[in-house]
Symmetry: C3
Subunit: 252 residues, 3 copies
Amino acid sequence: MNFNLPFVPERPERPRQSGLTMMMDKGLSLREAENFCEVCAEYTDLVKLGFGTGLLTPNVKEKIKIYQQAGLRPYFGGTLFEAFIARDMLDDYKRFIADAGVETAEVSDGVLPIEHGKKCEYIADLAKDFVVLSEVGTKLKGKEITNEEWVSWMLSELGAGAWKVIAEARESGNMGIYNDDGSANSELVLDIRNHIDPDKILWEAPLKNQQVWFIKLLGPNVNLGNIAENEVIPLETLRRGLRGDTLLSFLP
Amino acid sequence: MNFNLPFVPERPERPRQSGLTMMMDKGLSLREAENFCEVCAEYTDLVKLGFGTGLLTPNVKEKIKIYQQAGLRPYFGGTLFEAFIARDMLDDYKRFIADAGVETAEVSDGVLPIEHGKKCEYIADLAKDFVVLSEVGTKLKGKEITNEEWVSWMLSELGAGAWKVIAEARESGNMGIYNDDGSANSELVLDIRNHIDPDKILWEAPLKNQQVWFIKLLGPNVNLGNIAENEVIPLETLRRGLRGDTLLSFLP
Amino acid sequence: MNFNLPFVPERPERPRQSGLTMMMDKGLSLREAENFCEVCAEYTDLVKLGFGTGLLTPNVKEKIKIYQQAGLRPYFGGTLFEAFIARDMLDDYKRFIADAGVETAEVSDGVLPIEHGKKCEYIADLAKDFVVLSEVGTKLKGKEITNEEWVSWMLSELGAGAWKVIAEARESGNMGIYNDDGSANSELVLDIRNHIDPDKILWEAPLKNQQVWFIKLLGPNVNLGNIAENEVIPLETLRRGLRGDTLLSFLP
């Protein structure tokens, strides 16, 4: 049924460097992971095993294989990294994720305070063995980060070896690059975009209005993350101008 | 376990003309469609393959067959119709949906401006080969429609050959017949009800409070749509007085 | 992958008397129930077949067996009890749930007014043949219950034979022990905690912020209910300090 409708934005083939979609798995079963891959594999690049779920869900190695066989890149969410670091167990973390068979590692300091230079050391260290995603932005209210810090930290984390840098939003979509009501902090986003290659940034955008906002600002091949498993197809319709919000956006 | 509790409202047998439930499929896999049919087929009449998802999900023909074998009526959402019309490809659209094996077609102008007479021509044209659902109401803020226009457009679209006319709400339930906060525009709904046979109207009602409101106003066999796949059973408990909100509504 | 991270709160083994999680099943299919058990059985104790869904979903006996074979305790939600009582059909209700093979019964008066002494008689009667959960709190706005009534009713229902008493919140989490905005009525909760063994209470807490609030107040082994099937694993990460909100809560 792959009908060739004209004026639908081109999407790069996988494996791609832009237009990435990161799905957040909060504890899917093996069959649910298979269901996801059947429908969404073509449209998905990264699967985050959210927060510490990867430590609790049974059959996680089998699930990781299911994703990998579908061409996806599964990895453990940054909160699990922080849980190990908070216990001074970096080497255990490296063994844990290597043993799980993943090739990607996230480095974040969303909750655990990590001095920025130290964070870059973690990135450089993990980058020897893994593709590294690093995340900038706090999960904690009241810990404000200036626009200049956002930009300079993202740049130094990329410089330390991160493949992409993630802009934090939480699962709920009301932190980091978003205001309390979920609307985007557009001044911050524009500041970041003006200083950093947009292909190197993955924006967490769990809510539809946030996805629409980023697609209209940065185009259909913006990198977006924290997408619920049943929202990957709806997001793909947004990227291709096949949903009300973007239906007229890409027509001549 | 089909225990025969007294004072539970009668529901018509399928295929029915009233008491319709339309489920919105945003990209289910084949097994998920089977799961849905196992539990919900008896309580569901229409399955909308929402926005342009039908163009993107693999195995869509197989999924359509699964629904049809369970006695359901799958069809492509109106946004896909608008995507073809915006490209002046009506004939391609007709071939596309016929090739997919569906017997039902939706005509809408939720985003694409279509002159009303032209819309009725589309309805009459498609009604030659398909059961037509037409939709009234915009997805766009600021494009107000008067109550008189709602009523007269619904009547002329039924006159042009629509089987039922759908009252727009979006997936989010805050447009068309609803106010910004999701509450019903009761004056509009009453105006429509007073002028048009309620069996001919299918109200989009994605939120529980909207479903309760319509059941209390128009009875358990009101036609309701844009129901998420895991909300069809909860809706059925509302229709039958088996949930708190309507538990006492149908007792003597 | 059951990596043994230090400083993760201990959780009792099943069958347990505290640290209970009650999942709310709104109409899962057999395969979905199996998927749930694969991932969540170890972390779940009770499965409520919500409102009257148990009367409508096909294969309910098979589903009950799936849950029981995974070591879970399925039961019909209190609204179904009220639907039978409203029709003066207590004996039919007892036969219905016994025939379904469940060993647990909920007694509630969330919508149907039941004089409190009469409610305790129902509890005592059902406690002869079933493990009884009783629920305190109304689903109806405007029917205020004083803190003293909450405490004294909970105590007398436990005295009448209830195994645990449930504090009402509705599926939406904005009634009973919660304010309109979903925040906890902390004065009420503290009053209850100060008078009743917390292990005897199961707090309905469908929203993440509510779960976090209770875990921080009453510890990782607080009994929580009305958890959506895809939120059981995320809740378990909260209980174990493996999610941002509680990541630092249990560290030395």
